[in-house]
Symmetry: C2
Subunit: 382 residues, 2 copies
């Protein structure tokens, strides 16, 4: 198998951009990534996106974006795995290089949500769950996550204020991140008093809706060192899925797909959780952040809120978690998020992330589509 | 690069199934394909689908289908390239095996359209074109194809009746295909008198809306011969894209993406057009069938209707074209179509296609997303 490196990254700021559509956002990220490799020719493009079909009335997105960004008549297509689309795009782009089919592949993620009414966006995002078995009965995606948060707090006897450390730390980390959607600090009191969205999830437990795009350039070992002095190796990948219908799960306080994907990624990278210097994990809602750290082997079940309150996972700790600010504060442009995470970890390891940069040799990115339904875990090495 | 073989196929009949949704259709095809390999464990799943997001309110389709078909917690995701999604799914599945990441990968295609009103389906299918530059102005996807048909007839001085040989032959071929949507013959007179859809495209120039699913099992050379006595090699693949906005094209009587994809596929398979025994090509509308045969190097520009009228491309000729009945008569369950084509060519080469079976050693499948925007060409060898 051909070894795969990441040789270029490009990000847009995440926010509400009335003057930018899917194509403009993607091109901005793509051009930045191309700049890093001297505008070398990209041979194929894989796009992660969730809502262009349901909200944007646009399919054939791969070809459209390759064309608009001037990449030429190259193979280009979209992959979709709900909010996990970005991680799956990286996974797919990896296989195109690892197979020897291409030496230089761009992986993009892009999402455009803010021009639609919130109720329409909420409905589109709910398509991550089972339309016939779950949504049909009226539960929203936030509602599903609220069940998990309630159960986590009950099972492990964790208070509202203990949970609040997650969004507080995320906002703190995001202040320095120029790409982040929310660059201001919040307090536990503000979290506890913010609007109730789906009991016990409050507004400040929730990742925002936002537009954004990210691009990576993957290259084979043959060409990677010609394109950059700082190639970052894709050392391990894992993907797994689970019953989409949450009622079928044995346990909703742990995502089996994360455990399986992480096992595969750790094995292929030949590392274990304690080797990870920096991790970007999926925290669409407060409770997911804690659960994911537990499933990834970084923390003990139910103890994570307390540990984080005591300083665990803060910048400088090993692993530092979500120095970008995470989905909560960096933002969550759905199908782009998994690509942002990988780009951020690459910059952490290169030492040029323009926000909280903790450095390190080994990083991890975890992305989820649905309520733990499709999970990718990607391990990067300097 | 690991050599890749197709070791199992499964198809559903294409039609209007009020009692079957996306999951039931896919499972039916998947079980048939699994039967062919003694229910050996599949390690990953790639799904081609266009409209589950826009019509079906369902994302995260890969995980949902892997779960429902009982494939376990394997990596599973959807790829989308409009009507070309099926071909792109095969391409992606190929890379997962060719890379050495997996030994046994299922590629599925599934589409469910008939339960929605036709105007809603037409709108969803139009998402294959550029939403902002084309659809915004009110043109439908059939309208775009009508411009091409009008220009083809004018440029090459081809009459209505000469064009009609395509649907006539397709319906004739489909009569024996048990999976086909239309199993009855039609005459040139019936084509010429059928309802006008978008001048000069008439109803019988158009592929139908239909539900259906197809599944393939891809395997590495290491395991292929253990799974079947009749592995069919994926000998060559090509994919290319073009300007999605048709007004940017140099020429709309030839699809550059087909030419580029075919060139790559012929080169990698080390064959040329005259070596192809059987071909399944994309004929969503009459004119596309003729144009595609010309772009694939099987025929001279503008001469194809006359040649076909004289018996060229009929069963037994080299290549035999669309012995399945093509999109026109086998049917066109959009994201599944490219998977049907590959499955049909596999069966042709194995000698067990239950319709018009012409046999042969080398076959080709061409799939298009949009108006020549995303094209895959896949060459199979016995």
């Amino acid at each position: 198998m051909v070894k795969v490196y990441i040789v270029g990254v490009g990000l847009t700021k995440i926010g509400r951009f009335f003057d930018k559509g899917l194509r403009e956002l993607f091109a901005e990220a793509a051009f930045k990534a191309l700049d890093e490799i001297g505008n070398e020719t990209v041979q194929a493009l894989v796009i992660g996106n969730m809502t262009s079909s349901s909200l944007g009335e646009q399919d054939n997105l791969g070809a459209l974006l390759a064309d608009y960004a001037g990449l030429g008549k190259i193979p280009a297509f979209k992959v979709e795995a709900a909010c996990g689309s970005g991680g799956v795009a990286v996974y797919t782009g990896y296989s195109l290089v690892a197979s020897g089919m291409f030496d230089i592949v761009m992986v993009g993620g892009v999402e455009k949500e803010t021009e639609y009414p919130t109720r329409i966006v909420s409905k589109a995002l709910a398509q991550a769950a089972d339309a016939e078995y779950e949504l049909f009965h009226g539960i929203s995606f936030t509602g599903l996550n609220a069940l998990v948060m309630r159960m986590y707090m009950n099972e492990y006897n964790v208070s509202r204020d203990e949970m609040s450390i997650w969004p507080v730390l995320m906002h703190k980390n995001a202040v320095k991140n120029p790409y982040a959607q929310f660059r201001f600090e919040i307090t536990k009191e503000q979290v506890a008093k913010s609007m109730m969205v789906a009991d016990p999830i409050r507004l400040l437990d929730s990742s925002p809706i936002g537009d954004g795009a990210a691009a990576l350039i993957l290259a084979s070992d043959k060409v990677a060192k010609k394109l950059t002095d700082t190639p970052i190796e894709v050392a391990g990948l894992g993907m797994a899925t689970d019953h989409i219908y949450v009622a079928y799960r044995e346990n909703i306080l742990s995502f089996k797909a994360t455990i399986l994907a992480a096992k595969k990624a750790y094995e292929t990278a030949k590392v274990c959780p304690k080797n990870i210097d920096v991790a970007e994990v999926h925290d669409a809602f407060t409770v997911l952040g804690f659960m994911n750290l537990e499933d990834l082997g970084f923390s003990e079940r139910g103890k994570t809120p307390k540990l984080m309150d005591e300083g665990r996972f803060w910048p400088g700790d090993k692993p530092t978690v979500n120095p970008s600010g995470g989905l909560k504060a960096r933002g969550h442009p759905v199908g782009a998020t998994g690509v942002y995470q990988v780009a951020e970890v690459v910059m952490q390891l290169r030492g040029d992330f323009p926000g909280v940069n903790v450095g390190g040799d080994i990083g991890l990115a975890q992305s989820i589509g649905g309520l733990g339904t499709t999970v990718t875990v990607i391990i990067l090495k300097r």
